[in-house]
């Protein structure tokens, strides 16, 4: 638990640091959404959640099969 708290604290500190640095550098956005504060942080979080949820849904929709699915070949 102590290790987990340490990792979460370090992650939060690093994320905060990047937001501060981002606010201090001249804007460099090719597209409007990239100018939003902490855009990549949010995109990373939501993107990760999307990948997990979509993949799991795909798995439950029939992609995942028992290990013996291919018989002796498996």
């Amino acid at each position: 638990m102590r290790g987990r708290a340490w990792v979460l604290g370090a992650t939060a500190a690093a994320a905060g640091s990047t937001i501060v640095v981002e606010a201090t550098i001249p804007p460099h956005a090719a597209y409007p959404w990239q100018a939003l504060p902490a855009f990549d942080l949010v995109y990373g979080f939501l993107g990760c959640a999307l990948i997990v949820v979509a993949s799991k849904a795909l798995g439950h929709a029939g992609v995942q099969k028992p290990e013996s699915y291919y018989g002796d070949d498996e």
Binding site: T18, G44, G47, I51, V52, A54, K56, K65, E67, Y69
Partner: protein
């Protein structure tokens, strides 16, 4: 004098049949380092030609693109051979050396015919590498691998023949036409473009611990090399690449086998390279070449890490692993260098190459492509940098026995990790060797901040979704289902039908022969009886007449007369 860099590898492969036991590894390693020295010594623009059956083969045409691929191929051959130094099998060493040598032959070839020869040699030798796995699935997976690559080789052969018929032999952008589509289809199979990718995720995890390191390096990257040569700027490839990048990460979520998870990430990472080829700008093409260079090294390192786990524990599934980090600290550390490299962490190699392709998409006014490639990058960190190491090394501790990992395996991993870090710290060395001359600076503040935020956001989501990401004892149905289920069953049905038909024909033949056999007992008798029937003797007489063998036997005197006459005639003729 130009020495073909494949030559030391081929010689070392041949020597495997001569040297015995512990000497095989060092001989193989000498061959790999010989190849690296030969590549390093290739002068810019070096050429090597030979004549074969009336055709001029350009075995070496060392321009910048060929040299950068040849350099990383030779380097990874050294790393992988060092990793396999303890292997005693002559055939496995010979196959891996032949595979590495033929891959060098492909990227150094100066014409399509030479490329094709090495391409086919690569397919056969890599199939033999797969067969050296010890898992019970290896044999069948190896056959599927070979069948798919024979098919892709046939497509490339057809394309090359059409190009030759049109008078084109040099390796340049292929003009519109049938040859282009045939070549593209054949090369796309080797690049593992979905839906033609399943050979990779099916076979690589079944190879030996050491063989899978070689497999991770060559086949898909030779295909990327050919794509850069033949199809730069083909728009179709942009979307094929994006689809690959996402396909691999989606399937990796569902994967329980650690080497299959890494194999899905080969599909994903090669997607960046294919997309870069499709964009066709100097930055994107250099990005594809640079990412291939970095990918070969960090993916080999990741497969070495997974192989070390397999060698130490005998286990390959997330559900069977966990809690082994305290007993495999060095492996964890070196694996994480590969994981951070593939994830695009600043200061590691993937960051300096992957960001080139993503930046090329941004500069090319392709926001959707850019965002989707970033999404795939999130998935890469999720699986390779978080899920796999967490559930393999740090997850719930089971009763997993951990044996020592051979030192040569750790040394190879150490060298691979050093190269991944060096490329991340000093990307200028790699950029100076890229063929299209794009100017690119990866370490701008916004690039670094963007990359770190992306990784941190992914890390937070991973921590929250951890229970959903644990391995499950399932297999994922992929496109290989088509030839492992319906096609397999159709073939089995065809074979069973043919067997039943053959048995029926055999029975009919026996019945017929059984009916005819009495007739063959004594043809004289049959003819006589037939004559009687036709002369009106009647069927009853034919059936009931007692058998008299003397009736059909000529007298001895007649036989003597015929023999005497024959001898007399012969004597007259010869006299």
């Amino acid at each position: 004098m130009t020495v073909h860099p494949a030559l030391p590898l081929l010689l070392a492969a041949a020597l495997q049949g001569v040297v015995r036991g512990r000497r095989r590894g060092p001989v193989a390693l000498a061959g790999a380092f010989g190849a690296l020295a030969a590549v390093a010594g290739l002068p810019g623009g070096a050429e090597l030609h030979v004549s074969l059956l009336g055709s001029e083969l350009r075995l070496v045409q060392a321009d910048a693109l060929a040299r950068v691929f040849a350099l990383v191929f030779a380097a990874v051959a050294c790393l992988a051979t060092l990793y396999a130094l303890h292997v005693r099998s002559a055939s496995e060493h010979a196959a891996t050396l032949l595979y590495a040598g033929s891959s060098l032959g492909v990227v150094l070839a100066g014409d399509w015919l030479t490329l094709l020869l090495f391409w086919e040699l690569m397919a056969v030798s890599s199939g033999v590498v797969v067969w050296h796995g010890s898992h019970r699935r290896t044999r069948a997976a190896g056959f599927r691998y070979v069948y798919v690559h024979l098919g892709s080789g046939a497509l490339v052969l057809a394309g090359v023949l059409l190009l030759h018929a049109a008078g084109t032999s040099g390796l340049e952008a292929v003009p519109e036409g049938t040859a282009r589509w045939l070549l593209l289809a054949g090369v796309a199979v080797n690049a593992a473009v979905p839906p033609m990718h399943a050979w990779l995720t099916d076979s690589y995890p079944e190879a030996s611990v050491t063989g899978s390191v070689f497999l991770s390096a060559f086949t898909t990257k030779t295909a990327v090399y050919v794509m850069i040569r033949a199809f730069p700027g083909l728009e179709l490839l942009v979307w094929a690449g994006v689809a690959m990048a996402l396909y691999g990460v989606v399937y990796a979520v569902l994967e329980n086998d650690i080497r299959r998870l890494l194999a899905y990430h080969i599909v994903s990472q090669v997607g960046y390279m294919v997309a870069g080829v499709g964009m066709g700008t100097a930055l994107s093409l250099d990005g594809s070449a640079a990412h291939a260079f970095c990918h070969v090294l960090y993916k080999a390192l990741l497969f070495m890490g997974a192989g070390a786990v397999l060698a130490a524990t005998g286990r390959r599934k997330l559900t069977e692993l966990g809690g082994i980090a305290p007993r495999m600290k060095v492996v964890v550390l070196l694996y994480m260098v590969g994981a951070l490299s593939i994830s695009g962490m600043p200061l590691f190699s993937g960051f300096v190459s992957k960001s080139m392709v993503v930046s090329a998409a941004a500069e090319g006014g392709r926001p959707v492509v850019e965002m989707l490639l970033l999404l795939a990058s999130i998935g890469t960190f999720l699986h390779t940098g978080l899920k796999l190491p967490y559930f393999t090394f740090f997850g719930a501790s089971g009763a997993v026995e951990v044996r020592p990992v051979p030192r040569n395996m750790l040394a190879a991993m150490g060298l691979g990790a050093a190269l991944c870090t060096a490329l991340g710290l000093a990307p200028g060395w790699l950029y100076a060797r890229l063929p299209f001359g794009a100017a690119y600076e990866p370490y701008t503040v916004d690039h670094v901040v963007s990359a770190l935020q992306l990784l941190l956001g992914t890390g937070v989501a991973f921590a929250l979704l951890l229970p959903k990401l644990a391995g499950q004892t399932t297999v994922s149905v992929d496109t290989d289902w088509l030839y492992r289920r319906p096609l397999h069953r159709a073939l089995a049905l065809a074979v069973a039908t043919a067997e039943r038909g053959g048995a029926t024909l055999e029975r009919a033949g026996r019945t017929l022969l059984g009916g005819l056999a009495p007739l063959a007992d004594n043809p004289h008798r049959v003819l006589e009886r037939l004559a009687r029937v036709f002369a009106g003797g009647g069927r009853a007489e034919l059936r009931d007449a007692p058998y008299d063998p003397d009736r059909y036997r000529p007298p001895v005197g007649v036989t003597v007369l015929w023999v005497t006459a024959a001898l007399g005639v012969t004597a007259l003729l010869l006299g």
